[in-house]
Symmetry: C3
Subunit: 215 residues, 3 copies
């Protein structure tokens, strides 16, 4: 993947989707923190964790340190700018957290993060199952911070499926550009469908039977 | 330690105890999560964190990455299977979380994890105090996830004692098979005694005097 | 920086401040945990996390493992002793958590940690922004454990400013002894001013408007 976004190759487009997702995650994370009354610094931290937290956990687990944003500083820089923009724009309105723009850039980001996570696993020669786990961590761990804040379901299953599609197409011999495009498109649309239809995985017991536990 | 369990050597038996502990941790972690109303994916995640979380933290701190379950995939695989089994068996009853089977396999697992953690520290030439800390992390960090959920006391002291027994016998010149057997047996029984007798370390103040803090 | 404190060089003095901060953090962390009713082991753990947690996170992110206290065992040893001292002294009174001694040693520790964090980043050839982030992590992450316990504001901004002063003076060509002294002095006093005057960064909205979120 080239270091900077480019419309000329599929890898360059993947980097573009990665940047869009990073900015979108930082913006929405900071927005929620600011709306909850956190100060500028705290909102910025929550925004940055939302944006780069997933890739950081992945890098730690696979042994890629200094972690990616310490080497590719542009990720932290764009996260800080987006987080501050969200903080400043909140009193004036800003983008709605569940509006069209943030929702779709969020979907796109999760899909791109999942594909990049799976690629990271492959580059380390890790087993397919572990590559899917890398996809899950990269795509969902940062957003956890934000989603736990607002008690929103975490679509980890979408990230797992996106990583699996990428790995499956690779196993079937699909070219890199093809499998990147297909997996990102699949992941983006799947997440919109899951959101709109409020898909939930089954629970083992009814709500009435659940033990009282502070999760 | 051989990669797969074997009844022929003490190291092979230690690996067996390690697998039994891993499966037991994954099962009980998932069981509690499922009983609290989490979906299949969430229960699976809690089960896996319970099973491999301790070794993961140890690997990160000592610089062993990719972490163990990314290289020995069987650990993650057996954790997922055990976690799903717990999720599926919950409505039908399944093993009781505080029943005889899960309690003793849990004790055995904690003891085995502590010995393996101490061994990891020794392999990195770390000081005895740090090896004991490795034992504590390996044995208790994963279970924390589960134990915090149900407000159960964490027997970190048992893990520390188990690691110390292993290191002490090694310093006294005991053979590997001997010190593994003694430490695992000691740790397993100590934890049962602590559970049955509800042993607690002293607190500095009475319950009445404690400051109100959400721990 | 020499491994042990020394009054003869500025680097030796920085190490002294580092030790003072470590002991102070461990003491105050353990004190709060003990006052909240935790047992000796738990208080010790909270004290140690408060003391070495920040440097641990920094080491993990920059890829310095085994982490510092696994190699320089004296840090963990002094943390354990200080934490146990706090636990034991609590019923008898002990140092007041917000008294003069603990407040100033805390300030000094945060300033020294921030400078050392920035130095760690420089040694890895990381960008200035990332070095400031290293300063923030080193200085504040451990204290978070303690400060979240008592709902106390976290002065991350002071740590960021201290790291920035160190880096700025280095960029301007100031000698090592000069920039260490200036940054530590600046950070120590800034934090006292922030505490006394209850400085707060602005929030985006009024308290009345904040969304209800359990942060």
């Amino acid at each position: 993947m080239p270091r900077y976004p480019s419309p000329r190759t599929m890898a360059g487009l993947l980097r573009s989707a990665d940047w869009i997702g990073t900015v979108s995650f930082a913006y929405s994370g900071s927005l929620l923190a600011a709306a909850a009354g956190m100060d500028a610094f705290g909102s910025c931290v929550v925004g940055c964790i939302t944006a780069v937290g997933g890739g950081t956990v992945r890098d730690l687990l696979i042994g890629n340190a200094p972690v990616f944003w310490m080497q590719e500083v542009e990720y932290l820089a764009m996260s800080i700018v987006a987080a501050l923009a969200a903080f400043i724009s909140l009193p004036a309105g800003g983008l709605a957290e569940d509006g069209l723009v943030l929702r779709w850039t969020d979907h796109l980001g999760v899909a791109a993060f999942a594909v990049i996570g799976a690629q990271n696993g492959l580059r380390r020669n890790l087993a397919p199952l572990i590559c899917v786990v890398c996809a899950i961590f990269t795509a969902t761990f940062g957003g956890l911070t934000r989603d736990v804040l607002v008690n929103r379901p975490v679509y980890a299953t979408c990230a797992a499926a996106t990583g699996a599609v990428y790995l499956g197409m690779r196993a079937l011999g699909a070219k890199p550009a093809m499998r990147i495009a297909a997996a990102v498109l699949f992941g983006t649309l799947l997440r919109e469908l899951a959101t709109v239809n409020q898909w939930r995985l089954p629970t083992a017991i009814d709500d009435a039977q659940r033990t009282h536990v502070d999760l």
